[in-house]
Amino acid sequence: MTVEAFPVAGSETVGFLKPHPFIALRAIVHRETLRFLSQRGRLIASLVRPLVWLFVFAAGFRAALGLSITPPYQTYITYEIYIVPGLVGMILLFSGMQSSLSLVYDREMGSMRLLLTAPLPRWWLLGCRLLAGSLIAVLQAYAFLAIAALYGIRFPWLGYLLAAPAMAAATMMLGALGLLLSSFIRQLENFAGVMNFVIFPMFFLSSALYPLWKMAEASPRLRDLCALNPFTHAVELIRFALYAKGNATALAVTLAAFVVFGLVAVWGYDPARGMTARKA
């Protein structure tokens, strides 16, 4: 993999006493935020999906699913309370995938070329894009948590605070996965198919909707699959953080998955070795 250095400070186009990489980062975050705000339907769509699950699905399952006391919970909880961290994970999962979908769209439309021909290391440019998408995803998740609070599902104030880094780690990991997929997918039509093979298995084979011990009752093998799924660990990281608790295993798996997905994505976009070198 080609390791690129940042442009030398003080060159003709860098100057002005401001570091070039951060000027670019700010511009990319600003652009993505403007795009998000101009697409009003996107925020609504991102919230409707988890809210339907919360208000309809969870209400229906409350009676069917009894939950015992497992950490981080210290007492019996209703299904709505259990499902909220999983639905936060759902928002981050869909948002991460949508962000990478827009990368495929950008590439088809040509605007991706503008980004990739900027005089900065490609890994940095992709990282900026990932960070911008993650910021928007976390804001969406907080909007959902606010509605859940109005519905009566509240967490400790410290939990809301600690959820921010947990959600950031989760969304960066999912965004990196999306980035990886976008580097291997050439057309939007193919992307839709891959989404079905990624989003749904990832979501349903996780602890988002049901605890792993419950899954083990149905099938120990399924439980093992769920335990291997990095999305399970992302959800657990958020669940523990919302109760102001840490979960070292969940954090380690989430960060490790982020590093692996990120490295493969950077490889995929590498001009000499990745998928961009295989087809124009």
Binding site: R31, S38, S111
Partner: protein, 237 residues
């Protein structure tokens, strides 16, 4: 030092050779037309020149900077107008330029000044506040050229920039870019339209990934560049 040097570049798409030992160089301040029929390898060459992908073999030097060894320095000295539009249609003309300026490390008042100067140069200053989506095809192209000049590049690459434009817009844009070359900018203008090439332009004719002719357009084409081009590329008139 040449403005742009392409040295023994080869690239394959699977089993198909798209560029086959391509070499040419363009002096600073020269307008060079890269003329070739569809499938000649022009877009592949642009992909390689802009480092969207690396060639299998060969070397590219932009204003003295080797693309393999100093990619950022080489890209910083290059302005590009891609064949497909790369504008953000939801943003204003100026906002599009400021976004690009930031990708090149420019911000604040300096970026504003340069963006307005570039727009002014292309006769687009009064449209700075308009949404890009409201511009017609010719003005969008001018805006993309203005954007490619914001960071004051030494080399300007344009990949079939007049595709889809009416005759008046084509003529105006061709004239603008010739003027830029006259002011000292090195220009590589890819096209398959012979009438965009002037007798005094540098001309490289590309066909099936190889250079068929390289020299002054008037010398290569003689009285009828169109006939010469068709004869060289083996197409029917």
């Amino acid at each position: 030092m040449s403005g742009l040097t392409v040295e023994d570049i080869s690239h394959d798409w699977g089993a198909r050779r798209a560029l086959d030992g391509l070499s040419f160089s363009v002096e600073p301040g020269r307008f060079c037309a890269l003329l070739g029929p569809n499938g000649a390898g022009k877009s592949t060459l642009f992909g390689v020149l802009t480092r969207l992908f690396a060639p299998r073999a060969g070397r590219i030097v932009i204003a003295g900077h080797d693309m393999n060894r100093e990619p950022s320095a080489a890209l910083a000295r290059m302005g590009v107008v891609f064949q497909a539009s790369t504008l953000d249609l939801d943003l204003s003309v100026k906002r599009n330029l400021l976004y690009f300026a930031a990708l090149h490390g420019l911000s604040g008042r300096e970026a504003e000044t340069r963006a307005m100067a570039a727009l002014d140069r292309l006769g687009m200053a009064e449209r700075a506040g308009e949404k890009a989506a409201k511009l017609n095809g010719g003005h969008r192209r001018r805006m993309e050229i203005a954007r490619a000049l914001v960071h004051r590049p030494k080399v300007l690459l344009l990949d079939e920039p007049t595709v889809g434009l009416d005759a008046a817009s084509r003529a105006a844009i061709t004239q603008h870019v010739h003027d830029l070359a006259a002011e000292g900018l090195t220009v590589l203008w890819s096209t398959h339209l012979v009438d965009e090439v002037r007798a005094q332009d540098r001309l490289v004719i590309l066909h099936r990934g190889r250079v068929l002719a390289d020299g002054e357009a008037g010398d290569i084409g003689g009285d009828d560049l169109n006939q010469r081009f068709l004869a060289l590329t083996g197409d029917q008139a």
